[in-house]
Symmetry: C2
Subunit: 282 residues, 2 copies
């Protein structure tokens, strides 16, 4: 789905794209929040046997709102969204840029009323996601980042407050706080890989969805390990983690932008130590 | 530690006690928040071998602030706090009332930067906790309740917003959303009991600390199962859950105010179905 050659983005381009990404996240916020903890919110199950994969009216309305904003502000860009799939930019004016959208990452958390889900917005330049937003509408927090170029960096905002995001040092697993969303992680092999890392970590916690990655960028979590992700689950995380000084790859150390198995760390030393274990997973 | 005979609390007494409880929670908020996600927050480990039980300067400063407020507003009441233990009311003017305080329930979550921890304030009338507050300083939410008498009820507040808390109907485990903080739960027998319930529930989630109980009261979670709790972990939860229409007991259906194994549900039918399984745990 992604072009082979990256578009050439100037700092001014990136500033305009950031403004568009924020408008998209604002629209998703406004669409999601009225449904959060609302009585009678129900989910359809779009999963297969044994796998509850809920989608709610909030996911659908939020993605529609996000696409409406992009159609207006960025008519030549392509869109990949969790609920409505891929759409190409308007014919004849294609930019080579793609927006990758997850209206509610962590629908289970959304349905349970926990402030752990997020709205994910990524801009892919044809080679990699270069701009990402992790937005938590209920707490009012926005974690966003740019992964390369002169605008490389990451920032946390909440209303009028803003603060640079910077990962913290962590010398290795023995002092690391590790997160994953589900204790079962994925397949039996993936679970075993996670548990081998967990057994060397200082502290393991569960249940945070995309918020755990945001907390790596914020410097209060050291490591997140997950498996079975889709492209729209991970693309927005990459510029936030990298812009804050962290490392995010698959379990072999390669590019994780298409999803699958993901390993994110605030400190390259912790990443390397976890990678040495996870890369053994069949 | 608790008196045998309950003090006789009028509605006016309860209103005054609620105001004192809110002043205590406000003081804890002000003490905790500057340390939340602050660079360099470190923990001492007060646990035993194999059990990381962190305490931070935030826990200590918050409990001191809470005790200072109670010393001023409620000098005749006793206090049980997680960090400083039990203190009796000023000699000669004892009221028979006890405050049970957990300055930060979920210190691991606090240290990891997740908004899942809470400040817990309970008032025990000598027989049971009758007034409870679950406060989440970062989101600005306060869940509070009264478990009996004419003031029985529960409410959510956030800044100027307020809303009654009411559990939701849940016909049984097959439609239940279940939380526990740690997947290991407690002993091997306790873990097995939890897993037997989990295997019949619709959805299991982890990592929420006291916030999961607040979400039962808010009607977005159906069940919480935990083990190994202390009195200060559970007393504030009881009036919130009961005031919102839920049920909270130990794993045999008895009083859980001293901690240990706790089963909380929004709907008595779900509670009964889980209890039938958990009461088999040795």
């Amino acid at each position: 789905m992604f072009h082979e050659r990256p578009a050439d983005l100037s700092p001014a381009d990136l500033d305009a794209l950031r403004a568009a990404a924020f408008a998209v996240a604002d629209a998703a916020r406004a669409a999601c929040l009225p449904h959060f903890r609302a009585a009678g919110l129900t989910a359809e199950d779009k999963g297969g046997p044994g796998w509850f994969d809920p989608v709610t009216v909030a996911d659908r309305e939020a993605e529609a709102a996000m696409r409406e904003v992009l159609g207006r502000l960025r008519p030549g860009d392509a869109i990949l969204g969790e609920e409505q799939g891929t759409s190409r930019g308007a014919s004849g004016r294609e930019t080579g840029l793609s927006w990758v959208l997850d209206p509610i990452d962590g629908t289970r958390g959304f349905m349970a009323g926990t402030p752990t889900w997020g709205v994910l917005v990524a801009l892919n330049d044809g080679a990699r996601p270069v701009l990402g937003v992790i937005d938590q509408p209920f707490t009012g927090e926005r974690f966003w980042g740019v992964s390369h170029g002169t605008r490389r960096g990451a920032e946390w905002t909440r209303g009028a407050d803003a603060r640079p995001l910077r990962t913290r040092p962590c010398a290795g697993l023995a002092s690391a706080t590790l997160f994953t969303t589900f204790p079962e992680v994925g397949t039996a092999a993936e679970r075993a890989g996670f548990e081998a890392v967990r057994d060397r970590a200082r502290l393991a916690r569960y249940g945070m969805d995309c918020y755990a990655y945001a907390l790596i960028a914020a410097g209060s979590v050291d490591l997140v390990i997950e498996a079975g992700l889709a492209a729209y689950d991970v693309q927005a995380l990459i510029p936030v983690i990298e812009g804050a000084g962290g490392v995010i790859t698959d379990w072999r150390g390669g590019d994780c932008q298409r999803g699958g198995r993901v390993l994110a760390a605030g400190d390259p030393r912790t990443h390397a130590e976890a990678l040495a274990i996870l890369s053994q997973a069949p």
